[in-house]
Symmetry: D3
């Protein structure tokens, strides 16, 4: 079993989630061609970890790259982007790819991302070995972002969250769940969560989006998500957690009124897009009650944070706004 | 066979499509509660015609109503809106319904419309008799409008056009085709048509949307659609035609660079939303080469126009911009 | 007693409020210098009626003018605008005046209007004879519009409705009540009514504003107000009614979900600002259960409409949305 | 000498400028391909008149067409657009042409218009005979509109007014004068006129643009121009007059605070763009003190209006705002 | 007498106002629940100082908290927000509170703040002991911000500055003075200051707002205020000073064309809202000519700055723009 | 010959252009009155260097100042702005000046800048000695920015690049070339470069502008320019290079798809306008293949960067997007 990255809570801290003292773990120039590396996803793989990384190049073209690590902290990212083969003939490939998520489901690693197809929508692909990759039909019509698959089928169907958007810097956004019998045709769209009223929880009052792949706990599926406030100087992205019903995961049971993390370190406050924390993945060691969260900082770097699952569950339940 | 409404081309006119001299055929106060009746759909039904009508009430709530006619011109619209029963348990019903289309396919009349579900998306329902109506799962995530089904399955799948949108008076919009094996789960989304460059065809340079249900001709599927220009005094909606490939209907073979109809009658220029022509249906008498187009005028009334199918096909081919 | 203008309901009509068949009663060129005459207020005066009229001149400068009528339909408007004397020394006079309301209260005719004072706010003045006019301190800070006084003191205090605004074509707006012991200092601001949700009553979903001076009925104060929807071609203004609590008039007891009048005559649909009905006054003959409503059409002319008070009260109660 | 179109002032009218009773003189379908004919320019030519007409076709592509008339009222417009030859090699031709003006200067008829060249700017061309046309270098960088040449050189230089703009429905706009020694290189740009403050003359408070070609009077150059107000339902275009200094025509001596014409006829209030009066030319019979103004109505048709030059001069001087 | 915080001007500095070398004096996590502590107000109290602090919690809900300090630098802030009792029955309490100011006037400490009441307006409350707090009627209708009371009555009336706003990130804003006989009803609204033209003083060209409570000097009331410029990357807030007429304080005698402080330290440039200096209070030791200014930095922390009153007065007079 | 500033490429770096390790070379407080010093231009002058510097003062008024240096790194900037004399009588002087460029051409140093003249346009002036300065006619009508002259005449004509703009934070912008026989009248406007599609080179997808004065190489004119992306937190400015045809310099032969420099140092990421790199000049030592680039950082300071000309040419050719 893979030991997930871990660092104990700093002395004196009462934070439910705390940052790694050596953040960022991946810098903007992690590969020779990269302008920035951020909003990336990791999973346990063999004895270590594999990941899919958003590396914008120096033309600021967005693409996703495979990478590998023994310890989840030191990563070797391929210098060339993932080259998807079409799963079906007639398959349409998009203009750009960003903000990947990865989940192991049944027999393979599924990857979802934001796919450029006359506007952003949710791309789907898979790999068995992080060497060969196959791209499937996009899940939805544009405009959509933040597609996140559940790691198990629900009632025999695949389940994916997403955040319908517009064709710009979308100033609104709710999270929906959709279901599919075959990962190709999607329906049964269910509304899950909306932004909160400004007076109740302003950090998530403009838009929200699914973040990490949910994992099952005794309280339901635990997910880290981002919320956005529109300040007079632009959007600020922070992170909260939500617990989804085990059997009907489009039902949100609890959701944090306070954030768990907000931009307050320089690597979150200063960069290509200031004041952004954007979670895309978590690694969990359920036996030891530990979770490690991977998030992008300021659209520039990758950082991690830690927490005890039981504490996060309790905090989410005790500070919930639905 | 039902004789479709018809009036010959006025003397001296060279228009490919011409208006009915007695327009509008349905006025804003067609039922006691209506503020306006427009953007409505009709089909042959028994010896005459049936239709689904958008009647906004005097609170300007949008809903759809069944109606019947012997001649396609004089309509009796039910005073109460359609009361849909859920096709499945767990079915979600929306807040409002507008801009219906109707198509007979296999064994029943399918209705699609713009359904309010945390924003507009495409609602689907059916009826066998225009008395009992059943509502299915919505086809897509919000935000979407102008969902139009093809009247035949393509390669064993249902095919629906739609126009992804945003949550306001969307200032952009392309037409896509999506496919479904079962009218419940949708995928294989294909881009069909974009707005044209301003300099090439300004009447359709801001957004476009599918209009009438396509019908098969020897050139392919013939459809009437709307195009929009954003003037300094708001949107103006005009009507063009497109011919879709018979077997791969997401491929647009021809599309009119000139409009077929633009607002130039008072009932199109003045009303709740000035300068709108919005086609939602056509009736065709293929044997006699005739088609009658139903369209909303100024978001207030229903009007009709006529044309010879062969002339429209020729005009579309000879004046095409793709 | 002054006989208010009156015309019976047209045969066959079921409308609660119906238009005068000879509308408009005042045309845009009613005085030699006028570009338009609209959004004006009338009261019984001596044996006939007096009024304060918004006449924009041909430079499209906005000002208010006194006028007189024997029958409430044929008006003679002064060719020069009202020349206000300052009620107090140190009084500040604004740049422009528009949308007046008039009410008799205690011993004089109070006039309120939209006063230009580094932005629009609520001007206050009075007259005893419609010859000499005095201007008081403006009631509120900018930005505000649609200030309407109640015709009686409430608990010994003057009561005024208004609609806080911004410095442009305000895309939002609620009605508030404020109180004053002396018509100079104002406080006790109470929220009264908001726009309605789009799905429930779209004609008043963008903003609302007080219209006519309320008059007392056995159900409370009856007022006609305007509601606005933001279409893709601009704002459309329609008219509803509200019943306010007799003793605490900032409490809205009932309010029409449907409109009473919406732009559907040419003089309401076409003009300087298309699709506007804007009520500013009513005359009531309570003994005979009659009310005559004065409203501006298309920001260009003045029109009137009629109704039976008891019917309007019943309609408001039976079709209420709060 | 060509007798300009003329109709006496209607009885009882005190208007300084009055409309032709048979307006519009050119309808939207004046040529078989036209969607609309408007914003067009005329000049005396031989025994009658020639003109350059903006005819948008039914694809709503904008282009300019030559036309001829014996009486200035009944026009025969060529069915094909003007085919410009390049005056110089290397000449760049634009995507579209609209809003022409024509002026005889020295030995030829110069035409200026709005030329599409990666955005609108001022195109220049000339003809000797309205059969052969030559296109020169565009005068300015984009974005510019409403280029109007003076009919005489000033200090040996050509003088052109224009209205710097942006790439959309520009919400601002002042008139400038520029000079050129050779009609190819332009400089000495001088600011002439700004929009007026809202409270002083609201009809021209958003933007203004040169209209007709100025002609010399004993008071200076007399020009008709358009002014725009941004209402809550879009832009409204009205017409005023200005008198420019004879020798330094970038100095505006007088300018009407009131408009001369504002949209109040159906052909000005209803059409492709409601509420537009847009003057592009005048014909003057100086000996008889008469001027006939040509203007576009509602971006759809061509209309004319009349006035006595001396009255217009007096009115402009007596009602001036600078 | 309380010794105000003080640090001498750094060697070599010619700044009229200089920062404390140990800034920030209050960090974002000053209390366990705080996301940020900023835009806060202090007054002398007993032997030391008391204050009212804006502490946004980790749900980014805005509220105000009492705090105490012996030296004005080291503060102990209560962990629970101020719990206001209603001064009158029927009192309306708002949704949120932010940006407080405090002033001792007559017999008590008056607090004003931005109160959420269907939009932001000016809340008023008082305390005698910073333990019990009472809330009065809000002063004005929404939308308003930056309400600052004068510390003395003027002609027997309370005087309050405010900045009328809209319901968003208001892109405009002037300072007004209003008067009240009783702290309940307000009137006599007087315009005081506008933003300056871009070319004359760009740091305050978008909007301005009253900052610290004015204090009396031999030149008049001295106040520190904020000015805003709208850059291509959002608003930047800097600080200037103004001198108000002693007896008619709505008359601004002088006002700095240059700023006194602009964001140039990391704690002003980086934080929840970058590039913000927002003064809310000052402490003055008039005998020793010293003033200490309290301001929020980057909407995240509290900082202080120092100056000699006589130098600031002289600078304001010598560098004035009205 | 003047030795240009130089520092070798850091060990291990593969960057084509690298920053000076002692950046910034000029701080925001370089002169006593300055708020910021940035976007400035330098040229070889006598044995050292002269420059024209944008120094915004503490009222944030924009003006340009002369300065001198022996080594190109340590600068002495005059404390008073350049005082231009009018080259011609009747010359119009603007409200403000910013973003200067300097070029030696024929017999003098020409200066171009953004001149405030009812909106920004391109000012032109010259000096022989950096003591006396003369201002000429502005080149173009507003709105324009980033005027950059070529250092040689082309076909006997002066050649200037510029970026037509609007009157705000222009969200679009292409580079054009214009020609002039005499530096007074300009024409022959040629479109050179547009922003790139988002998917191809996002850092320059919103607008671009000429930066440094081009210098001749064996490949053509080499210029450094800025490109802008509109993020959800505002504009980000980066730097690329372009090669223009030697004889027809309005033809862009190559242009970098990747940027050469993007904001990634604190002095580029944090300041008055975060995330700005804005090149305005270069010094080249062609014999030794060296170029030193001067650029503004975060609208606050001046920094420099270095490169080998041959490497930059090769990189531009090998990574070109047109």
């Amino acid at each position: 079993m893979n030991l997930i990255p871990w660092e104990e809570r700093p002395k004196g801290s009462k934070d439910v989630v705390w940052r790694y003292s050596q953040n960022p773990i991946i810098n903007r120039d992690a590969i020779p061609t990269s302008n920035s590396v951020f909003n990336s996803a990791v999973v346990p793989y063999k004895d270590g970890f594999a990941g899919v990384f958003r590396c914008d190049n120096k033309a600021v073209q967005m693409n996703i790259f495979a990478g590998f690590s023994d310890d989840g902290i030191n990563w070797k990212i391929n210098e060339n982007p993932i080259n998807f083969e079409a799963h079906d003939k007639g398959q349409i490939l998009g203009d750009y790819k960003y903000d990947p998520r990865v989940v192991f489901l049944e027999d393979r690693y599924w990857i979802t991302w934001c796919e450029g197809h006359n506007g952003p929508t949710i791309g789907i692909g898979y790999t068995f070995d992080f060497k060969e990759f196959f791209q499937c039909e996009s899940a939805f019509l544009p405009f959509n972002r933040n597609g996140v698959l559940l790691p198990e089928k629900i009632d025999g169907k695949y389940a994916m969250m997403s955040r319908p958007s517009d064709n710009g810097h979308t100033p609104f956004g709710d999270i929906y769940m959709s279901y599919s019998p075959d990962m190709k045709y999607w329906g049964e769209h269910r509304h899950m969560m909306s932004p909160t009223p400004f007076k109740d929880s302003a950090w998530q009052c403009t838009k929200i989006g699914a973040g990490s792949v949910p994992f099952l706990t005794n309280e339901g599926w635990l997910m880290f998500y981002h919320g956005v406030i529109n300040t007079c100087n632009g959007f600020r992205y922070a992170m909260g957690s939500a617990i989804l019903d085990t059997n009907q995961p489009h039902i949100v049971k609890y959701r944090t009124q306070p954030y768990l993390l907000t931009p307050s370190k320089t690597y979150e406050q200063v960069g290509d897009v200031p004041n952004v924390i954007f979670p895309c993945a978590s690694l969990q060691d359920v036996k030891n009650d530990k979770v490690t969260i991977y998030y992008g900082g300021a659209d520039t770097i990758v950082a991690i944070a830690f927490g005890y699952i039981s504490e996060i569950l309790a905090f989410t339940k005790n500070n919930s706004i639905i």
